[in-house]
């Protein structure tokens, strides 16, 4: 789900950059509120690199194969770091593989990053009423977070592409093409949901502190407020 260079008009590209800057600025603001914002930089960067490598994995869905987007999982694992991480991942993809583009970097960052932040908020619901002790709730929330990431990205991209069709051309075929592209992402939403839930279950079993950092920060923040 990467919109390449040269398709969207300049205004949309620039608006994408503006919106992505706002989103990243908000995330950085939240990160700077932590006691030592730089302490998590190596962790976030290594995860960004890990997600970059993971997004090169292709899963065969006959007749084609899809590569993982992992926006939802990034939101779940990285929290607010997901937004800068996604901008960075997309930047490297555009620079090293011509996958996506530099003029569309902002818009692609919004398409993946905003759903990732929403997945983060959704996954954080587990702190409500001590749900974090209930494996079923945590698994369900991470599944929803993972699928929601892909679904929202697909819905936003579909609307964007439909609204960008040139006015003077006959749209039926292009519209069908866009719908086919959108529907072909539905299995991916399911797959990413399953993968997110499995990775979260795995991490909770093997390295639970990796997912706990957000809780600790929330607690220490509220402690300072008091």
């Amino acid at each position: 789900m990467h919109i390449p260079d040269g398709i969207l008009p300049l205004s949309v590209g620039l608006a994408g950059y503006g919106l992505a800057a706002l989103g990243t600025g908000y995330a950085l603001h939240k990160i700077r509120q932590k006691e030592d914002p730089r302490s998590d930089v190596p962790k976030a960067a290594l995860f960004t690199a890990a997600f970059f490598v993971a997004s090169l994995i292709h899963i065969p869905i006959p007749p084609t194969s899809v590569h993982l987007i992992l926006g939802g999982l990034m939101g779940v694992v990285l929290g607010f770091y997901a937004m800068p991480a996604i901008v960075i991942g997309l930047f490297f993809q555009a620079a090293m593989f011509q996958h996506g583009g530099l003029t569309t970097l902002g818009i692609n960052a919004c398409l993946v990053g905003i759903p990732a932040l929403l997945s983060h908020f959704l996954f954080n619901l587990r702190h409500q009423r001590d749900w974090s002790n209930k494996p079923v709730v945590v698994t369900t929330l991470s599944f929803l977070g993972g699928s929601l990431g892909v679904l929202l990205t697909t819905i936003m991209a579909t609307f964007l592409l439909l609204s960008m069709l040139p006015a003077h051309l006959d749209h039926d075929v292009a519209r069908t093409g866009i719908y086919v592209m959108a529907f072909s992402h539905l299995p991916l939403a399911l797959i990413e949901g399953i993968i997110t839930a499995m990775v979260v279950t795995f991490l909770l079993r093997v390295k639970p502190e990796l997912l706990k950092s957000e809780t600790n920060h929330v607690k220490s923040d509220s402690h300072i407020d008091m």
């Binding site: 960067a45 490297f92 993968i195």
Partner: protein, 248 residues
């Protein structure tokens, strides 16, 4: 899996390689944004000419350029089927139910010209500049410190994690793992292991860095020293971009 390579062509000797990275970054960004503004088909040859000139000057191997077109080629192929045969009124040529239409053909040429030109220029930008210098250039142009730090660290560990992952998946394959929808659990565990290893390594890196004073404001050494030549090239490229933006 695509192999990652670390800046293989940055040590050649064209003026594009020597151009100050800050000016190169902004100048070429202006150019690609100007290209996105082009809506007139008759500007495509001029755009292709400017791009071809830059590419020839960069002394980059055309085979590598060709291999970089693989991802966008799929997209262009889909457009080449859809636009010229289904969009538009004026029929240029007809064979049975298949009709080549003028408006669709022009729309395709416009998009293909823009996509190819922009991709080539992005390729030139990153193939003639070491990534480290691109990041330092962006930092000196106002990229927040936290983002610059993350970019540098990510780039530093991309290659190592790629190797890690290849090692893990080779080990898994030797035990009968196949990447398919029926082995999602194994794929997830591979991914989870990659994250755990990254996490443990980042803890060690952070401690080692704290010992060396990390946490204070980062000291970025900027190796840039722009000469008047760099500024003249920048001015020229910006002017070309402006012409395309105004005519487009």
């Amino acid at each position: 899996m695509v192999g990652l390579k670390l800046d293989p062509f940055v040590h050649r000797n064209s003026w594009l390689h020597q151009w100050d990275p800050r000016y190169k970054f902004i100048g070429l960004m202006f150019l690609i944004f100007a290209f996105t503004l082009v809506q007139e088909v008759h500007l495509i040859p001029a755009m292709a000419l400017v791009t071809a000139l830059l590419f020839l000057q960069s002394s980059l191997p055309w085979r590598v350029w060709l291999s970089r077109l693989l991802v966008p080629a799929f997209f262009l192929l889909a457009l080449a089927i859809v636009l010229p045969f289904f969009a538009g009124e004026t029929v240029l040529w007809q064979l049975g139910p298949l009709a080549l239409r003028l408006e669709g053909l022009l729309a395709f040429l416009l998009v293909a010209g823009k996509v190819l030109s922009i991709i080539t220029i992005v390729f030139i930008l990153f193939a003639t500049t070491p990534m480290l210098l691109v990041i330092k250039a962006m930092r000196s142009l106002g990229l927040p410190e936290l983002m610059a730090d993350m970019l540098l660290f990510t780039y530093r560990y991309l290659f190592q994690l790629q190797d890690d992952y290849e090692g893990q998946s080779t080990a898994a394959r030797l035990r009968g793992y196949q990447n398919s929808t029926s082995s999602l659990q194994t794929t997830s565990f591979l991914l989870g292991t990659l994250l755990v290893r990254s996490y443990e390594q980042s803890e060690r890196i952070y401690k080692a860095m704290r010992l060396r004073g990390y946490g204070q404001h980062a000291f970025y050494a900027y190796p840039f020293s722009a000469e008047s030549k760099d500024r003249w090239i920048f001015l020229l490229v910006t002017l070309v971009a402006l012409v395309f933006a105004l005519l487009g």
